[in-house]
């Protein structure tokens, strides 16, 4: 198997971008885009290499994906176009700054103010699996970096807190959920298909809407 990685590079956040090609040859049919990138001097974020950490999110042949979850053999063409995520500022090459996702979670106060002794364990487990990779934001037609919408990357962690929070925290959570998720979600639900952790977003949305919008909170 021979692939040409056509990679969009950029020396720093202020410089012009350019493309550079790298040839990758291997007879390993399970080699991924991450395997190939590890052989280049290109800067990109990586950590677990088994889709458990969300570090290596990028745009591969026009589709946002994790590099470690994209097999080269599954890509029909020889030339593979690799670009950084577009909705975040580029730091260098394929490395982007996803800090805005963390800032949004802080703004929406995604934490438990007091000890938790309630909630649905399945909801909590499912919501805890979010990788905060940003792929859902990349495909979302309603997500803009300067907007109020936090997208599914905010909804998922918020769903855990909504499920677990005590009565005292509800008023603020309700406000934040409306502001950060509900009001701006256009229900395109492109996030469902793109999520590499295959999180059951539908289930979390239904549960969170029921509580924070329709006031059907879990009983204490």
């Amino acid at each position: 198997m021979k692939k040409i990685l056509h990679i969009k590079r950029q020396l720093n956040s202020n410089s012009e971008s350019y493309y550079e090609d790298f040839v990758y040859e291997s007879d390993n049919e399970n080699a991924t885009v991450a395997t190939a990138l590890l052989t280049t001097p290109v800067i990109w974020e990586h950590s677990c290499l088994q889709k458990k950490c969300g570090a290596c999110a990028m745009v591969i042949n026009g589709k946002p994906a994790l590099a470690c979850n994209t097999r080269l053999a599954d890509i029909d063409c020889e030339i593979i176009n690799i670009e950084p995520l577009q909705k975040f500022p580029v730091i260098q090459d394929l490395r982007v700054d996803r800090q805005i996702m963390m800032d949004k979670l802080k703004e929406l106060k995604v934490w438990l103010e007091s000890d938790s002794n309630k909630g649905n364990e399945n909801i909590s487990y499912e919501a805890s699996r979010c990788l905060e990779c940003g792929l859902c934001l990349e495909v979302c037609p309603n997500y803009y970096m300067d907007g109020k919408f936090g997208g599914m990357a905010a909804m998922t962690p918020l769903a855990r807190i909504i499920d677990k929070a005590s009565k005292d925290q509800r008023k603020e959570l309700k406000k934040n959920y409306k502001k950060g998720v509900y009001n701006s979600c256009g229900k395109s639900l492109a996030c469902i298909d793109i999520c590499p952790a295959k999180i059951d977003i539908d289930k979390l949305l239904v549960k969170s809407n029921a509580a924070a919008i329709w006031n059907r909170w879990n009983k204490e």
């Binding site: 950590s47 677990c48 290499l49 106060k109 000890d115 909630g119």
Partner: protein, 518 residues
């Protein structure tokens, strides 16, 4: 001026230390190369041990203590292990209070059996326990970020410690985005994880845990301990760029190890060790597999639907995804892979190193696991260790309110610190030598050969990081040579028995460029 505590690493140990300090109104700088969602803690699978006695088996803290000491072949500090086991039940409770959905049935936490433990004491969240604990910790840490007590410095990397008169007065940090160095004053807690990057591609760990922090500290006079004890997890599978862990929970829930004699499955661990053979400690199982020298399989075909649906669904999905095999119907070929480093930065019961004001916790520290770690004790050790390191600083806070002395390091900001492109190929040679020399089964001749090959790597004008890695690699092999016995994860064909004169931890330090082993 208020004391700031500098924590390097934002996995479970780092975040726990940070929150423990913040709860006491102490300011924290939390440095990490990537966000906490990328930390190795997320990869821990099977669970966390605590003697809660939820399973009606008269399971008490003394038994957790005894299993941990025995699993580690009696070279861990008993007082430290006692603290760990005593602290475990309240950690389970604290994690529950920050919203961790432990596996429960009828309102009670359920505990699963794990290797080397006589009683069921492993609390779990399917087979994603590390991920679920880390998520809850990230959310709880955010509360203190909002109040300003914890300042996160993501995309920041370790560049050195600032030591004056054998006291750590701060840390030197490189900002990956800005390309700048900064010195920060205050005591330091290192929570940088295991040394996976010394053995790339044959570990289950992340690429972020390069081992360089431990190496650079060693080169700066920090003592290390027990480097010869490297845990090979028995059930890992090769995937493209690494080895993927098949959690010990697979065997805890009924999975069996076998080889094939024609079409007959031979359950060799059960044949040799009886009913609980599959759940012998990891060092024992991996050694048996290495000695067997046959293709080995994990047989999970006898697991019930309840186990697959409610306890190991995530593991099954992962195996199908990566291997295209459904473990409910077919055998999985497995082999040992490097999974954990029992050795690392030497710490005392307060998690302080030989340098005052410098602490270490989590996998980077050699603390609780002796010659072999029991499954379920790493998540526990990370959280407990982070807590103890923070509490030790709180007790000694008066010592750290002097911020003077940092100025003399201010000119020292632009030396040749990090590995360059040219050195990367040399590093590949270095790690190749380690992989070859530090296998499950070792002998003096091949260890000496490895050491000799390391000596031949030219490093006179090398970066600080590469020089340090080379010195760490030599120290690892020297520790393995020095322990002329077999104990836990260290197996010598030339010294196949354990020897009581070695029933103690190894300490290694670099003094005037010379390796000193105590």
């Amino acid at each position: 001026m208020a004391v700031y505590v500098n924590i390097l690493g934002a996995g479970l140990a780092g975040m726990t230390a940070a929150r423990t300090l913040a709860k006491n109104n102490i300011h924290v700088r939390l440095f990490s190369v990537q966000v906490s969602q990328r930390a190795q803690s997320n990869l821990a699978e099977g669970g966390l041990n605590a003697a809660l006695n939820m399973m009606g088996e008269d399971n008490d803290i003394n038994q957790h203590f005894e299993d941990t000491m025995k699993g580690g072949c009696y070279i861990a500090d008993p007082d430290m292990v006692k603290g760990l086991c005593e602290g475990a039940p309240s950690i389970v409770d604290e994690m529950k209070r920050i919203g961790v959905p432990w596996h429960m049935e009828d309102g009670h936490i359920i505990q699963r059996p794990f290797g080397g433990q006589k009683k069921r004491r492993t609390c779990f969240c399917m087979s994603s326990t590390g991920k679920i604990l880390t998520t809850a910790s990230i959310d709880d840490t955010r509360k203190y970020e909002d109040s300003g007590l914890i300042e996160r410095y993501t995309h920041h990397k370790f560049a050195g410690i600032l030591v004056k008169n054998n006291k750590c007065i701060g840390i030197k940090i490189y900002d990956n985005h800005e390309g700048t160095y900064n010195n920060y004053s205050g005591p330091v807690i290192i929570c940088s994880g295991g040394m996976n990057g010394m053995f790339p591609s044959i570990t289950t760990g992340t690429t972020s845990n390069t081992g360089s922090v431990t190496a650079m500290l060693y080169n700066s006079g920090v003592k290390l301990s027990n480097l010869e004890f490297i845990q090979y997890h028995p059930t890992t599978v090769k995937i493209t760029d690494k080895r993927m862990l098949i959690s010990e929970a697979a065997r805890g829930e009924g999975g069996r190890l076998c080889y094939l004699d024609g079409e007959t499955k031979v359950y060799f661990m059960e044949d040799k060790f009886g009913e609980r053979g599959n759940l012998m400690p990891r060092d024992v199982v991996s050694k048996e597999m290495a000695m067997l020298n046959k293709k080995t399989y994990l047989d999970m075909t006898g697991l019930s639907n309840d186990v697959w649906n409610n306890r190991l669904k995530d593991l099954r999905d992962e195996i199908i995804d990566y291997l295209n095999i459904d473990p409910a119907n077919e055998l999985i070929e497995v082999a040992p892979g490097i999974h954990y480093f029992m050795g690392g930065i030497k710490v005392d019961i307060n998690h302080e190193t030989n340098i005052e004001g410098l602490y270490a916790a989590g996998e980077c520290a050699a603390a609780y696991h002796g010659a072999n770690r029991l499954g379920g004790n790493s998540l526990l050790g990370a959280i407990y260790g982070g807590k103890i390191a923070a509490e030790s600083i709180i007790k000694a806070l008066d010592k750290y309110d002097d911020n003077s002395g940092l100025n003399e390091f201010s000119d020292d900001l632009n030396e040749n610190i990090f590995i360059n492109e040219e050195e990367k190929s040399k590093d590949k040679v270095l790690t190749g030598i380690l992989i070859k020399s530090m296998g499950i089964i070792r002998d003096e001749t091949s260890l000496n050969l490895g050491l000799c090959e390391l000596e031949n790597i030219e490093s006179s004008n090398a970066s600080f990081e590469f020089k340090s890695r080379l010195n760490l690699a030599k120290a690892m092999i020297e520790c393995a040579i020095n322990r002329r016995e077999s104990r836990g994860a260290h197996n010598r064909t030339d010294y196949p028995e354990s020897n009581d004169s070695y029933k103690k931890p190894t300490t290694v330090s670099l003094v005037n460029n010379e390796i000193i082993i105590e």
